[in-house]
C-alpha cells in the first residue's frame, strides 16, 4: 500500500489540475447546495423569529375553547313542542288575559287580547302542531322553562377538569359574556347630530345603528387580556368612573377619528400608524349613550309625530296631537321632552292609567338614558384583518394574528371597581333555560403542547354538521383552538420541513447528475492514469485510495463553498427582507407591542448537516462506479486506448 500521505499528495495535485473544470464543478454543485442551505437558514430564521415574537402574545399558547355538545339536533324543537309545557303556557296565557281584561276595565282603558301575542304559535311545517314561542313578550315561556330547568347547571366543570387532565391540561379559565339589556342601545354619539336623527327612521335603525362599539362585552381573565394591555393599564383608576375596556384596533381608529390607512401603505407607514394609534389610545376615554327601550320608543314616536305635523303644515283642518314632544340635544343623551301639553285632566288621567297598567304587567315605560364612560386600556387586533394568505407578508400576519378577542373588559380591573351596579344595564345576562341553567361562561383549557391540544380536540369533541347534529356522536364537547394559530404554525413548519426534504431529494438528483458528469468524467478520463499507476506497481486499493481522497476533497470543497454561498445568500436575503418583514410582523401582531425582530438567518444544524452529508455522498456515489470499472480493467488495454 502507498501511504495516506502519498495518496493525499496525488489527490490534491490532481484536484489542482484541470482548474476550469474543477472550478465549474465546484461552483455549479455548491450553488445548488448553497441554495438549499439558504432555504434552510431562511425558513428556520423566519419560523424561529415568528415563534419568538409569538412568545410576546397569546398565539404561542395552546388554548382550547370548550362548550357543551348538542347531540340531538331536534332537542329544542321537541322541547318547544312538549304538550305538557304547551298546555301549561296556554293556561297561564288565558289567566293573564283574564287578569289584564279585568284590570283594564277597572282602569277604564282599552285592552284586547288581539294585541297581546300568545306564548305559542303554529309550527311552520305542520299547522296542527303548536309550539311555544320563545320570544313571548309576556315572559310566560321564559318563566316556564326557568321553573323546569333553573335548578340544574348546564355544564359540569368537574367532569371537564378530569377529562382534560388526561391530556395534561395546564390551566382552566373562563371569560363571561354580557350584553346590553334587551331592547336597549349603547351608542357612541356621532359627531353629526343632524345626520343621527335623519338616519333613525325606524326602530331597528336606532338600536342597531352604526354604533362603533358593540353591545356585547366579555369580562376576561388576565390569562387572555394581559397580552393586549397598554402599558400601565393606560393609567386607569378604579375610582375614575370609567369602565376599562380593550377594543379592536379599528374601533379605536374610528373613535379617534383617524383616517383609514390606505391599502397601498408601506409596512413602515403601517407600523408608524400603529404606534401613533397606540400612543393616542393611551389617553382615550369616551362616552357611550345608553337608552332603554322606552327611551328609544319615545324618540321614534317623536320623529313620527314631527313628520306627521310637517306633512299637514298647510292643512287647516289638521288637529295637532295634544302632547307635542321635542327631540333632545343629540349630544346630550337625553330622552324627548314635552314641548306643549294641551291634554285635559281626563286625558291626563287616562294616560296615567295606561302607564299604571303597563307597569303592572311588566312593560317598561319610563325612558332612561345616560352616559357610560369608558377608558381604553388595551388594543386587540382588528376583526376583519385575517385575510387570505397571498404573500409571505399575509402568512406572517395570519400566523401572528390573534382572533376571537374583541371587546373585552379585563377581569382583574373590573373587580377593583367599587360600584359595579352602575353597569347593571349594559352588562346583563339572561339564560335561556333550554335543558339547564346555562351560564355565560366561555370555558378555556390550556395545554402545554400542540399535540395535547389536538388530541383533546380530536378525541373529545364533535363537529356540528349541516343538519345541526354533532359528529361523531356521543361526544360531550365542542372544542376548537382559541385565539391562536399555534397549530397552524406547527403545521406550516412541518410542511416546510417536508418540502425542504423533497427539495433536498431534488437537489441530490441534480447534484448527482452534475457530479456524475464532472467527477465521473474525470475518473473515466483518468483511465490512462489508472492504467499507468497500475503498470508501475500501484495496487487496486492504492489507485482507489487516490481517487477516493480526490473525490472527498472535491466534495468537501463543494460543501465548504456551499456553506459559504448559503450563508452569504441568507445574509443577502436577510438584508433585503428582514426589515420589511419585521415591520410587517409587528404590524400583523396587531395592537400588541413587540420589540423583537424577524431575522432570516437561522441555523438548523440537522438540515444543514443533511445538505452537507448529501453533498459528500453525491460526490462519492458518482465516483464509485467509474472507479470500480477502471481499477478492474486490464491496464494495458487502457494505456493503448487512452
Amino acid at each position: 500500500m502507498i501511504t495516506l500521505r502519498d495518496s493525499m499528495v496525488l489527490a490534491v495535485t490532481k484536484l489542482r489540475t484541470r482548474k476550469v473544470r474543477t472550478i465549474i464543478t465546484i461552483l455549479l454543485a455548491s450553488m445548488l447546495f448553497g441554495l438549499l442551505i439558504t432555504a434552510s437558514m431562511v425558513t428556520t430564521g423566519v419560523f424561529d423569529s415568528i415563534d419568538n415574537i409569538r412568545k410576546d402574545g397569546l398565539t404561542s399558547q395552546y388554548i382550547v375553547t370548550v362548550s357543551k355538545a348538542r347531540n340531538d339536533p331536534l332537542a329544542v324543537q321537541k322541547l318547544l313542542r312538549d304538550p305538557v309545557l304547551v298546555d301549561e303556557a296556554k293556561q297561564r296565557y288565558t289567566a293573564l288575559v283574564k287578569k289584564k281584561t279585568s284590570e283594564a276595565e277597572r282602569l277604564g282603558i282599552s285592552y284586547t287580547q288581539a294585541s297581546d301575542l300568545p306564548p305559542y304559535m303554529q309550527t311552520s311545517d305542520d299547522a296542527s302542531t303548536i309550539r311555544l314561542n320563545i320570544n313571548d313578550p309576556n315572559g310566560i315561556v321564559y318563566n316556564l322553562l326557568a321553573q323546569k330547568y333553573g335548578g340544574q347547571p348546564a355544564f359540569n366543570d368537574a367532569q371537564l377538569h378530569s377529562i382534560a387532565d388526561r391530556y395534561h391540561a395546564t390551566a382552566f379559565f373562563y371569560s363571561q359574556s354580557y350584553s346590553v339589556k334587551q331592547g336597549s342601545s349603547l351608542a357612541v354619539l356621532p359627531k353629526d347630530g343632524e345626520k343621527f336623527y335623519n338616519q333613525t327612521d325606524s326602530m331597528s335603525n336606532i338600536s342597531s345603528q352604526d354604533s362603533i362599539i358593540k353591545s356585547q362585552f366579555t369580562i376576561s381573565p388576565s390569562n387572555i387580556t394581559d397580552y393586549f394591555m397598554l402599558p400601565n393599564d393606560a393609567g386607569w383608576q378604579p375610582s375614575s368612573g370609567a369602565l376599562p375596556i380593550i377594543l379592536p384596533k379599528d374601533t379605536v381608529e374610528q373613535l379617534l377619528g383617524l383616517p383609514q390607512l390606505a391599502d397601498m401603505a408601506t409596512t413602515t407607514e403601517k407600523l408608524n400608524y400603529l404606534n401613533v394609534l397606540r400612543d393616542k389610545a393611551e389617553t382615550l376615554t369616551f362616552s357611550a349613550c345608553y337608552r332603554n327601550s322606552a327611551s328609544l320608543n319615545s324618540i321614534q314616536q317623536t320623529l313620527q309625530q314631527q313628520k306627521e305635523i310637517a306633512a299637514h303644515a298647510n292643512d287647516a283642518t289638521y288637529k295637532k296631537p295634544p302632547v307635542i314632544y321635542g327631540l333632545p340635544d343629540p349630544f346630550a343623551c337625553q330622552s324627548p321632552f314635552i314641548k306643549t301639553d294641551t291634554r285635559t285632566i281626563t286625558e291626563k288621567q287616562a294616560d296615567e292609567n295606561q302607564k299604571q297598567f303597563d307597569q303592572e304587567f311588566g312593560k317598561n315605560t319610563t325612558p332612561i338614558s345616560y352616559f357610560v364612560k369608558f377608558k381604553v386600556v388595551g388594543l386587540s387586533p382588528s376583526t376583519q384583518e385575517v385575510k387570505q394568505s397571498r404573500s409571505l407578508n399575509d402568512v406572517i400576519d395570519n400566523l401572528l394574528a390573534t382572533t376571537g378577542i374583541e371587546q373585552a373588559i379585563p377581569k382583574n380591573l373590573y373587580d377593583q371597581i367599587p360600584d359595579k351596579s352602575r353597569y347593571n344595564d349594559i352588562l346583563t345576562y339572561t339564560p335561556l333555560y333550554l335543558f339547564g341553567s346555562e351560564d355565560n361562561k366561555q370555558r378555556y383549557v390550556e395545554f402545554a403542547t400542540a399535540s395535547d391540544a389536538s388530541r383533546f380536540i380530536d378525541q373529545q369533541s364533535c363537529v356540528t354538521q349541516y343538519d345541526n347534529s354533532c359528529k361523531p356522536t356521543g361526544r360531550l364537547y365542542q372544542a376548537s383552538l382559541a385565539f391562536s394559530n399555534s397549530v397552524a404554525l406547527d403545521d406550516i413548519r412541518s410542511k416546510a420541513t417536508s418540502i425542504f426534504q423533497y427539495s433536498v431529494v431534488g437537489a441530490v438528483v441534480l447534484a448527482v447528475i452534475i457530479m456524475w458528469i464532472t467527477i465521473g468524467r474525470t475518473i473515466v478520463d483518468g483511465r490512462r492514469e489508472t492504467a499507468v499507476f497500475r503498470a508501475i506497481g500501484f495496487k487496486r486499493g492504492d489507485v482507489a485510495l487516490v481517487y477516493v481522497l480526490y473525490t472527498i476533497s472535491l466534495s468537501l470543497l463543494i460543501a465548504a463553498v456551499a456553506l459559504l454561498l448559503g450563508s452569504v445568500g441568507s445574509v443577502i436575503v436577510n438584508h433585503i427582507y428582514a426589515h420589511e418583514l419585521t415591520t410587517q410582523a409587528r404590524y400583523g401582531f396587531g395592537g400588541l407591542g413587540t420589540a423583537k425582530q424577524i431575522t432570516l438567518i437561522g441555523m438548523n444544524s440537522w438540515q444543514i448537516g443533511m445538505v452537507l452529508f448529501v453533498c459528500v455522498t453525491a460526490g462519492f456515489l458518482s465516483m464509485l462506479p467509474p472507479l470500480f470499472r477502471n481499477v478492474r480493467r486490464n491496464p494495458i488495454r487502457d494505456m493503448r486506448e487512452g
Binding site: 500500500m1 502507498i2 501511504t3 502519498d6 499528495v9 496525488l10 495535485t13 490532481k14 489542482r16 489540475t17 484541470r18 490512462r528 492514469e529 499507468v532 499507476f533 497500475r534 503498470a535 508501475i536 506497481g537 500501484f538 495496487k539 487496486r540 492504492d542 486490464n634 491496464p635 494495458i636 494505456m639
Partner: protein, 242 residues
C-alpha cells in the same frame, strides 16, 4: 538464438561471468486474444532465457508479438499457456497484489509513448514509482536528484510533461523506471518517437544501467542502431522466434 549474440560479446561475457544464471525464463508461452469472436494468436510457443545483466533486443515486423511478449514478461498480462519465471518466481501463480509489487519492485517499464502522468511534474512523476514501496522521503529525494542528474533533467524537475520534448519525456520515464533499482528494465520501442540524437542518449542510459547496476534490459525495437547496441538480438516473426 546464438545468431543474435553478435554484437558486444565483451559485455555479454561480463554479464554472464558475474552471475551467469537466468534471471528470466520464458517457457513455451502462447497468447491468444479474443476479439469479438475472432481469435488472434499473438504469441505461439515462445521460449526464451535471459541472463542477469544481459541487454537483449527483440526485433521483428509489426504485429509479430513483440509488445505482447514484453507485457507478459513484465507481469502486465498473463499468457494463455506456458510459464514465465522471473527471479525464481512463477508469474502466473501471483495474486494481483503480489503481481503489482512485482511490477513495482522487480521491473522497470519504459513505453514508446512515455506514459507520464500529465497532472504531475517531473519530480513527482519519478517519485510516484517509489510510492508503493514506501521509500523514505529523504531516500526519494536523493534518488530523484541522482537520476535526474544522470538523465540530464536536473533543471527540469518542476516542469510538467506538456512542457517537455519527447526525448526529455522518455528520459524522465527511464528515471522513473530506475528509481526502485529494478532487476529488469522492459522497454517497448522506447526510441520509436525520438530522433537519432535522443535515441543515442536513451540507449546509452540503458547501457549505463546495465554496466553500473547490472540491470537486465529487454528492449523491443524497429531501430537497427538500437538493436546493434544489444548483447543479443531476438527476432520474432508471427508470434514465434525466428
Amino acid at each position: 538464438m546464438d545468431r543474435s549474440r553478435n554484437t558486444k560479446p565483451i559485455r555479454t561475457q561480463e554479464a554472464s561471468s558475474i552471475e551467469g544464471e537466468d534471471i528470466l525464463s520464458v517457457q513455451n508461452i502462447s497468447k491468444t486474444y479474443k476479439l469479438s469472436g475472432n481469435k488472434v494468436t499473438a504469441l505461439n510457443g515462445v521460449s526464451l532465457q535471459i541472463k542477469r545483466g544481459e541487454f537483449v533486443a527483440i526485433i521483428g515486423p509489426s504485429g509479430s508479438g513483440k509488445s505482447t511478449l514484453l507485457q507478459l514478461m513484465g507481469g502486465l498480462d498473463k499468457p494463455t499457456s506456458g510459464t514465465i519465471v522471473v527471479d525464481g518466481t512463477r508469474l502466473e501463480s501471483l495474486s494481483d497484489r503480489r503481481l503489482s509489487r512485482f511490477r513495482n519492485q522487480t521491473v522497470g517499464f519504459v513505453f514508446q509513448f512515455f506514459y507520464l502522468q500529465p497532472f504531475l511534474n517531473l519530480s513527482r512523476n519519478i517519485e510516484v514509482a517509489a510510492m508503493p514501496s514506501r521509500m523514505k522521503k529523504g531516500e526519494r529525494k536523493k534518488r530523484i536528484a541522482q537520476l535526474a542528474q544522470r538523465v540530464g533533467l536536473a533543471d527540469r524537475l518542476t516542469h510538467y510533461p506538456r512542457e517537455l520534448s519527447g526525448g526529455q519525456l522518455q528520459r524522465a520515464a527511464i528515471a522513473r523506471a530506475l528509481i526502485n533499482n529494478p532487476h529488469i528494465i522492459i522497454a517497448d520501442e522506447p526510441t520509436g518517437n525520438l530522433d537519432s540524437q535522443n535515441t543515442q542518449e536513451v540507449v546509452d542510459l540503458f547501457r549505463q544501467a546495465c554496466r553500473e547496476l547490472n540491470t537486465t534490459v529487454v528492449i523491443a525495437t524497429h531501430d537497427p542502431m538500437v538493436a546493434s547496441k544489444a548483447d543479443r538480438t531476438v527476432i520474432l516473426k508471427d508470434g514465434a522466434l525466428a
